[in-house]
Amino acid sequence: MTRLRMFASRFRALFSLRRIDREFEQELESHEQLLTEENIRRGMSPDEARRAARLRLGNPSSLRESNHDQRGLPFVESSLRDVAYAIRMLRKSPGFALVAIFTLALGIGANVAIFRVVDAALFRPLPFPHPSKLVELRNAATDFKAWKSETLDPTHWWAAAPAIASVADYSSDYADLEQAGMPGQVLATLTTAQFFRVLGVPPLFGRTYTAHEADAHTAVAVVGFRFWQQHLGGSPAALGKTIHLNGHQFRVIGVMPRGFSFPRNAQVWIPYRAKPSGFFTASVIIFQTIARLRSSVSLAQARADLNVIYHRLQKDGIYTSPKNLPKISPGWRFIFGVTVVPLRQALYGRSRLPLLFLLLSAAMVWLVACANLAGLMLARTSARQEELVIRAALGATPWRLMRLLWLESLALAVAGGAAGVSLAVVALRVLLPWAPSSIAAAGATGDWPRVLAFVFLLTFASTLLFGLAPAAAASWPSLRGLTERGQGSRTTTPGGRRARQVLLGAETALTLALLIAAGLLIKSFWRLSSQPEGFDPRHVLTVLVPLPSTWSVKKQTLLYSAVIERVAALPGVEAAAVGSCLPARHMALGMVGLLPADHPGSSRPVGAVECTVSRRYFQVLRIPVVAGRVFTTADIGKGQAAAILNAAAARKLWPGGIALSRRFGLTGLGPKIEFPHEVIGVVADTRSWGFTMPAFPVFYVPYQLGTFGRTFLLARTSVPPASLASAFRSAVWSVDKTVPVLGIETLRQRIARTISAQHFRTWLCAGFAALALILACVGIFGVVSYEVSRRTREIGIRMALGARAEEVTGMMLRRGILAVWIGAAVGLGGAFALSRWLASLLFHLQPGDPEVFASAAALVLLVATAAAWLPARRAARVDPNVALRHE
């Protein structure tokens, strides 16, 4: 208590030390006066009295000093003085300071940007109350009886489990927003009533929808804070207003608090029954299920509970097969059972390894930056040997000198950290749009206080790495050093030299390891993107033309056929077609089950993507026909059910057999056509989503039999496809002006997005590796040049004694290069360990790929040698005459 009060008093005094000093001066003066008067009273002469008074009082300047120190906090004061001195010293060598700050800014900035994303995705608790109780239930939202009856919440089965406190289904997709002349897209989410209960977040104001509203077809919406600010003026009057999404109207009933957004960057939530048919452009809505466990329930218990319900459902045959289909085993949709996955894992599980890897790469860049800087600081400290010797001679303790050097590092680190944060802000703004959506969403919700704490940690750690270590490694000046001035300070100390060699080696090792990791990712990515695609993505323009679900099939068919005709007639267009799917973008979403007609009971349904296409679809995409034929107008009559399979679907339905002319049926999701189809043709497999998945089974049917919300218009062009964009739009609008024309893109652009995650991490890692390589080169160059300049005199002597230029160059080169070689060997080992860890990110590539290892090692050694050779060559140009007189 007393201690604290003393500290507070001393701390307060720091701000008025000047006044306190002045007052003490007065006090002493008055004391001296009183003593003098007393002495005069005792009969001394005035002069004598004053002298005696001074003696009694003590040395005034030492009294003043000790009073000053006692009043304030001398440690803080001298530190501040040292900081001021450090800053002054840095300003004297702006070149050094700029290089150092920039190096640090790169190292820290890279880490801060990555950390912000990684923290939000992996470390920070999810931004909901009791996040550890949130789980995703997989294979749970598939109770179609409930869906069809339109009265039951599809999650009602699971809500009965004792482990579950609340459970909700949701599905999200981008919806077109028409709001006060501001067209845009917003991630809209259909949810069941318990959605907000599960997440545990109440609305900021207004309310969320009730179970009754969620089940009835009421068009209400809850909006996010950002949406409210941007589109509804951010006023409470927004409640009751109407928003238009995909052409439907919704009344706003609630606003969620700032920062609430789930899934990803969703900003509008609507009851799942509000407008389910045709609201989303996908033909089938796939729901995901989230649940909140009761507080005392463990994950294992929840799994057991849900499995009990699952087995009961299977036994009861609750699951009825669609009409007109051969009997299928009850509950086949539940084949896999229900899986309970912690929500964080469900959201970010797949990004975990890539994110951690990126964080590690950034950390390696930072280490290289610090090693680099440590080299610079070491050189600087040696160059300041004289100054330090003088300071030591005047009584500075080693601790005090160390602090002086460390504070200089701190000043650099703080400037570097600040610059790094600005760099990170810019980098995030530039890079996040390129990132896969889950990463972008995490990056947008990052928590700045945590990030700033990380920055402080990093800055402080930097000063320890590059500031303190060299300061400790440098040999400490002594008085002896002062007397040896002129000789002692000319040559480098063995301690300092060894420290520099270690730094060189470390830099090389880190750089090589990072370069190899980047090389592996690049080679893997290259293999990935040079996979055969099964179609020709060049010169294809695509555009989404969704029609209102209220239109009849006939009306839709008329419009599409007219549009196809107009587009095909455009100059530069070779062929045009419509299709409800695009190759390379097939996902396991939106699939239906196929069953062979000849042996229906014996096998599981084959999951396949249903794709409704027009006649020239295969011609436009250049998908080869393997057997049979494509559709003709004869296939479109009533009661016809001609279908084309891709090779994967044919193989799976009739393993080893011929598919042509055989029949199959489908188990539908919701109200769909459900009669046996006849296979009239088989086409080649096309790439599925993201290259890494095997070709997905697809079956094609003529669009005239019924198209579904999401239909692309596509055309093969003989001119660059992008140049036809506006002609495309006006061709559609010349048929019907009210039809929306969305997202005109080339097929290539759309496909690029399917491998955006791999693309993103590959180039980011390559960027880090390049950064490390550049930093390491600068570091090696710097250290060798420093050696050369330090040893100019020695070199001069050697040359005067007859050493040849090559010998001198070789000598200087060897010094730097040996450390580089040892570092490279260590780096190879590290890279090997690193690549094992990365193995699952590599596509068709061994983690120890010798080609990558060898070329990365060769690159590093070559570049490092060049960086060392440049200054070493300068050593050979030393003129012995000049060198010997060199101070």
């Binding site: 007393t2 009060r5 003393m6 008093s9 001393r10 007052e23 003490f24 007065q26 006090e27 002493l28 008055s30 004391h31 006066q33 009183l34 003593l35 008067e37 007393e38 009694r56 009082l57 003590g58 040395n59 005034p60 009294l63 000790s66 009073n67 006692q70 009043r71």
Partner: protein, 114 residues
Amino acid sequence: MTETKSEILQGTLDLMVLKTLDAMGPLHGYGVARRIEQVSENLLRLNQGTIYASLVRLQQKGWISASWGTSENNRKAKFYAITKAGRKQLAAETENWERFSGVIGRMLALADRR
């Protein structure tokens, strides 16, 4: 060489200053130093400047307070006065000191009976 003018034990000066201020009321630095010397009958000869270290320490601990006033020779001077907390501290330390000096006294008496 035996010293008649004793060195002041660390910490005892603070106690003396406190006691002086308690007994005499507000005093300036000179007054405190003078008083201590008088009471010790000039056995204690202070380097009078050191009194200020003690005064600052006591002030920082909140046991005495300081304010500017006018001295007897009509000069501006800083007057120190004991605070409530200071009185409490003084009582505690007095007791401590008495116990301690009692122990020392007995110890020294013991040594005589060899």
